[in-house]
């Protein structure tokens, strides 16, 4: 149990594989742009470098400036522990999918609050955009997760995972929900077209503008872990689940490839366009939810 929580598939494994996945994303994106790109362990190097860098404390920072990044990373890590990875869930109790949703949302919230606490105008605008974006994507996210939950009649992603192994892929049974889920992965991790809160060209680095060193490393790592958690949750809920490492890797890497494609192919949305877009897919996912409610 302790081994599962701390090493595999717990904290250490989670952190490492998230970074590698992010590295694969960067490498793939570079190749699609016809560049060589960084090695896939690049995020690890970035992380070590950031930890070794000086931490600057801006004068105008408010209380919690240091705290929020760590809260953010803790909450996504806990969310990671609740997600089935290759058929193992380190932490498990009844109703854990609800807890998972809360921890993921809280992870994002903490990141945005960190932007507010830095009192930098860019940070504040970025956080504001992040919060608006959250209104957008939480709806399709929750609806799309509810679909397999209601269909399976249980709240544990672990059990849904195993159920799918016997009953076929929920992604095919509920395609709309699967698409909405995919959209909300992009939105939650701020991958294009949803990189509005950190839009480089408008507001420098958004909420993380004032952050340096370790705290910046935590914010970046939060994103990477969020991406990995969402991808593996997607595999568990929609893509047939996985009982062993090989199927898990194959399925999650395919999903990662699609995420990379999205990152490479589309332009950034404006905040009003984001709201329209995400709510549209939320409504689409509702169709599936209604189908589940009526027919099952």
């Amino acid at each position: 149990m302790i081994f599962e929580i701390l090493i595999y598939p717990g904290f250490v494994f989670l952190v490492l594989i998230s970074m590698i996945y992010y590295g694969i994303l960067r490498k793939l994106a570079a190749r699609m742009q016809s560049r060589i790109g960084p090695p896939i362990w690049q995020p690890i190097l970035d992380f070590i470098k950031l930890v070794g860098k000086e931490d600057l404390n801006p004068e105008q920072a408010k209380a919690g400036f240091t705290l929020w990044p760590f809260i953010a990373i803790t909450s996504v890590l806990i969310a990671g522990l609740l997600t089935p990875i290759a058929g193992i869930v380190p932490l498990s109790f009844t109703g854990d999918i609800v807890v998972l949703i809360y921890f993921l949302a809280f992870g994002s919230l903490a990141v945005y609050l960190s932007g507010f606490s830095s009192s930098n105008p860019f940070g504040v605008v970025g956080s504001m955009r992040g919060l608006i974006q959250m209104i957008g994507y939480e709806f399709p996210f929750i609806v799309s997760i509810l679909v397999p939950v209601v269909a399976a009649g249980m709240l544990s992603p672990f059990l849904i995972n195993t159920l799918q192994i016997h009953y076929g892929w929920f992604g095919f049974v509920f395609p709309f929900a699967a698409i909405a889920y995919f959209i909300s992965i992009l939105a939650k991790v701020e991958i294009p077209p949803f990189h509005t809160p950190g839009a480089h060209q408008e507001i420098v680095s958004g909420y993380s503008t004032e952050y340096t060193g370790t705290r910046l490393a935590m914010i970046e790592l939060t994103h990477m872990i969020k991406l990995f958690v969402l991808i593996s949750l997607g595999v568990a809920l929609f893509f047939g689940g996985s009982a062993d490492m090989v199927t898990f890797l194959v399925k999650s890497l395919v999903l990662l490839f699609v995420v990379t494609l999205a990152r490479v192919l589309v332009a950034r949305f404006r905040i009003d366009q984001i709201l329209k877009f995400t709510w549209f897919f939320g409504l689409v996912a509702l169709i599936d939810l209604v189908r589940v409610m009526v027919f099952i």
Binding site: Q33, S34, A199, I203, V266, A267, D272
Partner: protein, 407 residues
């Protein structure tokens, strides 16, 4: 820019109370150069903008008055690294107008060729930057990848990728050898294919359209009122292009047409540039076809000191009309240089109109769509320091000067 009068100050106070301001620049990812826009926001909507220029002001006109004519070619070139060619060529043209001399035919073709290559590279750069500003790195990467072919050609022709140092007084400094022409034509074919791809991309890609259509409207009447120039004006349906209106070098003899779009928005400005790339490619092909049949003379002799007169030269830079005015005093240094650049008008006057009531998220694409570049905006404006007198130059006088321009 905000004045100092009482009313304006009161207005400013009022603005500050209602809104919050966001400094964009001088160090900001939105543009390569340093410039400062103070954006007043209400939520995500832009209420007002202050354009604060001058961060790159180096005092070039004054500098040019202290250097001799030959050195000034390179000073003029370094007003800006993007249209470096047009600056040095307009300068040389201006000096040749002072002397009233003509340059050899081959030199004219080579100058035209370099200018069009420069327009190509500048327009490709612009397309890439547009992609970058709307958050589409891939477009930026692809366009700049193809731009490398143009840079290769420029390097091959002139010996440097950015500051070509091609023209000199009375001609050009380097000849284009015949053996590089086939490879250049090949590259042009490749570029044409790619441009066709980008034309479809910018015209049809859903996400690009969502971000650029109907954004940053600059009505035709404002363009005419504020005398905005270049592709920005052409995208609002105003047919101005110095190359056609007052043909210089070989533009009068070549076959091409002015691109005009009616859209008035960011997308129209992008499309104007895309279509101009095709025009440039066609002009380049014509030049390259003509070159081998011309005789090899590329330079005429010019005296180093110029008797007291004055002259102007106008050319179409990638971003609009560029005017050089020079006054000589009998020595080998100009008495007065004055440069009027396109971006100055385009930035100062059109930005506040286009940005008002827009979303903050559209700021980069709007700013990018007029292709701002601040190096030439921030030259210097100085009234004759030596005599202290200030001449008023009226229109007929300018016309008279203009007539003396050699073709």
């Amino acid at each position: 820019m905000r004045g100092e009068s009482k009313e304006e100050k009161a207005k400013e106070k009022e603005l500050e109370r209602q809104t919050y301001s966001l400094p964009v620049g001088p160090q900001h990812p939105m543009y390569i150069e340093a410039e400062n826009l103070n954006v007043y926001l209400d939520g995500e909507t832009i209420v007002d903008v202050d354009v604060n220029v001058g961060y790159l002001h180096r005092g070039i006109e004054e500098l040019m008055q202290r250097r001799n004519y030959l050195q000034n070619i390179f000073v003029a070139e370094r007003i800006c690294g993007i249209c470096s060619g047009i600056h040095s060529m307009t300068y040389c043209q201006c000096v040749e107008n002072l002397l009233g001399i003509d340059i050899p035919e081959r030199a004219k073709y080579i100058r035209t060729l370099v200018l069009e290559l420069e327009r190509l590279h500048s327009h490709f750069l612009f397309l890439g930057v547009v992609g970058y500003e709307i958050g589409m790195d891939t477009v930026f990467m692809y366009v700049w990848k193809d731009r490398e072919h143009v840079m290769d050609m420029l390097e091959q022709v002139s010996g440097n990728r950015v500051n070509y140092a091609m023209p000199t007084m009375g001609g050009v400094r380097r000849d284009i050898p015949n053996h590089i022409i086939p490879s250049m034509l090949e590259k042009l074919n490749h570029l044409e294919k790619r441009t066709e791809y980008y034309r479809k991309l910018f015209l049809r890609d859903r996400t690009i359209i969502a971000r650029s259509r109907g954004v940053g409207i600059l009505p035709k009447k404002d363009v005419e009122r504020l005398s905005i120039v270049g592709p920005v004006a052409r995208a609002s349906g105003v047919r101005i292009d110095v190359r056609m209106d007052f043909p210089y070098l070989k533009y009068g003899d070549l076959d091409w047409k002015v691109i005009v779009e009616k859209g008035e928005d960011s997308q129209a400005r992008v499309m104007v540039k895309v279509l101009e790339i095709f025009q440039s490619i066609s002009i380049l092909r014509q030049c390259l076809k003509k070159l081998p049949s011309l005789d090899r003379e590329i330079k005429t002799k010019v005296p180093l000191a110029i008797p007291k007169t004055e002259a102007i030269a106008i050319m179409e830079a990638p971003r609009g009309e560029l005017v050089y005015y020079a006054m000589s005093n009998g020595t080998d240094r100009p008495e007065r240089m004055r440069i009027r650049t396109p971006s100055f008008v385009n930035i100062i006057y059109s930005l506040p109109i286009m940005l008002k009531e827009q979303q903050l998220a559209d700021l980069p694409i709007i700013v990018a769509s007029i292709d701002p570049c601040f190096s030439c905006t921030d030259r210097m404006t100085l009234i004759d320091t030596k005599s202290g007198e200030r001449k008023t130059v009226d229109e007929t006088y300018l016309k008279r000067l203009g007539e003396r321009r050699s073709r």
